[in-house]
Amino acid sequence: MTRPCHETEAWLGQSRAALSEAQRLSLEQHLGECADCRGLHGMSRVLGELVRAAPTELSAAARERAIAGAFVSANQVREPRRSWLGRSLAGVAVAAAALVFYAWPSATWVEGAGTHAFAHASVTLRDARVRFDESTATLTLARGALEVEVDPRPHAPFVVQTAHFRALVLGTSFHVDAERVVVRHGHVRVLAGDRQLADLHAGERYERKPVVAAIAAAPIEAAPVEAAPVEAAPVEQAAPVERARAKRARARSVAEAPRPVAEAPRPVEASTDYLSQARAALARDALDETRRLLGEAEAAARTPHDRAEAGTLRAELALRERHQSAAIAAYLTVAKRYPELASGENALFAAAQLSTPEAARPLLERYLARYPQGRFSAQVRARLR
């Protein structure tokens, strides 16, 4: 008579070395007689091996980014919560500082359209006026909207300050205007003073609620805020991702209200929405739906970022469909068309990874020539060796 199932179940899937001699014998005897436990044991063993064989470590650069980011975020949200009075006073102080800041004459304002490099970020202005403070890596947005691509390599945060919040970025691509942040890749934290308003990942967005008090504090050039619909809401009310999502319909109606200046072009947002939906569809293996959404996204895409993202998703879709050569071709297209974007760099590396060793070598060499300090340069050098 062997031990009952419940007594041996704790040993299922364990390596033999982890069990005592008596436990091993009992388990083997039980498995010889119990088909159910044999099935469970086989599953536990195979799954354990499968997961343990998968790589688990970040690249050295990603690890350093995470460590640096942890210090930044711990310092950003360390302050205790303040009373309403404290918050009001802080709000007044921020408003006053903003007023002085925006009114202060400076030779470093940049305005209009076009793409500019600020430290480790590539910023496309959309009828925008910005000023960059190199010492704090802070880009102040006075008017309009921005498309930002931040290179994660320097392991330094990049901040975009608007009249109402600031977006703390740790290597990512995103859209920002006075009212909202839409994240395409990576991770952005939206802060107001010491408070964290939202923690956004790819495909997520933060939309600010229009507020009464902020209008009085609006900077000289912040016309869109003055034109925004007014609602009775506390200053700088936090809008966590979950709540923002639940109230998306209302937020959209606010976003779509006519505003004379700084309204982000709708196609940009539409393509971003399609892209995030396509990514979600791909994650749940809805391949036809992914294809349809990608078509919509490509038709609506107006920025290189969105087109590159759509190309990357095309490649991932092909990979999921086991069309490896199509995936490589799609990655190479992104790499060729958007070499200046992080997506282009990722795509070139991915194409090399999927290729045979003979085909991979020229791609890896091209990667190193193009991105000698790139995100994957250490891995590429190792593979070439």
Binding site: S15, G42, V51, L58, A66, A70
Partner: protein, 203 residues
């Protein structure tokens, strides 16, 4: 179980000045500990969460919480165990949050191929199996899943899993058992898991 996992051991090898520095929030001390422990924490997070583009974010959240909590660290457990508890809590929070479902990403492609050195199609097959597995794990209760992964994949003892998850021993045993049964039932019905099922029949 491996002594590496011993709960409450003082085997970190950090001088007391470093641990005291961490308590005081000194960046150099914290960075030293984080650099040493990050690969281990990444492994725990990656195994609990599965292939995810969010591993970097999860590590950052873990370290961020550690920076805040270090002043209360009492050396009752090793620094590694204490950090692992934080990582497990971070992973659990992430799993419970419906808005933060896993996204299959380029990271999966990078690691899956480069680290194993397998041929692309073999690596693709392994990745597919891994994805199928984590899809089914996504349907388990987060606590059941976490207990199962810590016990079955990380090869920790039930006592260690219970300590890491701040739960009782019998609760932990029950979680592992239910996770195993539910996962087995789900995989048995999924035709995509045929490769896994065939391997399970092997010796």
């Amino acid at each position: 179980m491996s002594s590496e996992h011993a709960i409450g051991s003082a085997r970190d090898g950090y001088p007391s000045s470093v641990v005291d520095g961490c308590r005081r929030g000194e960046r150099a001390a914290l960075e030293r500990v984080f650099r040493a422990e990050s690969p281990y924490l990444e492994r725990v997070l990656a195994r609990v969460l599965g292939p995810s583009s969010e591993l970097e974010d999860m590590l950052q959240s873990t370290l961020e919480q550690a920076i805040r909590a270090f002043p209360t660290f009492r050396s009752e457990a090793s620094v590694r165990t204490w950090l692992t508890r934080i990582a497990v809590r971070t992973a659990l929070h992430h799993l419970k949050h419906p808005a933060q479902k896993r996204r299959v990403s380029l990271e999966l492609i990078e690691g899956g191929l480069s680290a194993t050195g397998a041929r692309p199609l073999e690596a693709l097959e392994a990745r597919t199996q891994l994805r199928v597995l984590y899809e089914h794990l996504d349907h388990l209760d987060p606590k059941h899943r976490t207990a199962f992964v810590l016990f079955q994949v990380e090869q920790r003892s039930m006592e260690e899993v219970a300590a890491l998850m701040d739960s009782g021993l019998s609760t932990t045993k029950s979680r592992v058992m239910w996770a195993r049964r539910k996962l087995h039932a789900r995989l048995s019905k999924d035709p995509r898991a045929r490769g896994l099922l065939e391997a399970m029949e092997g010796p």
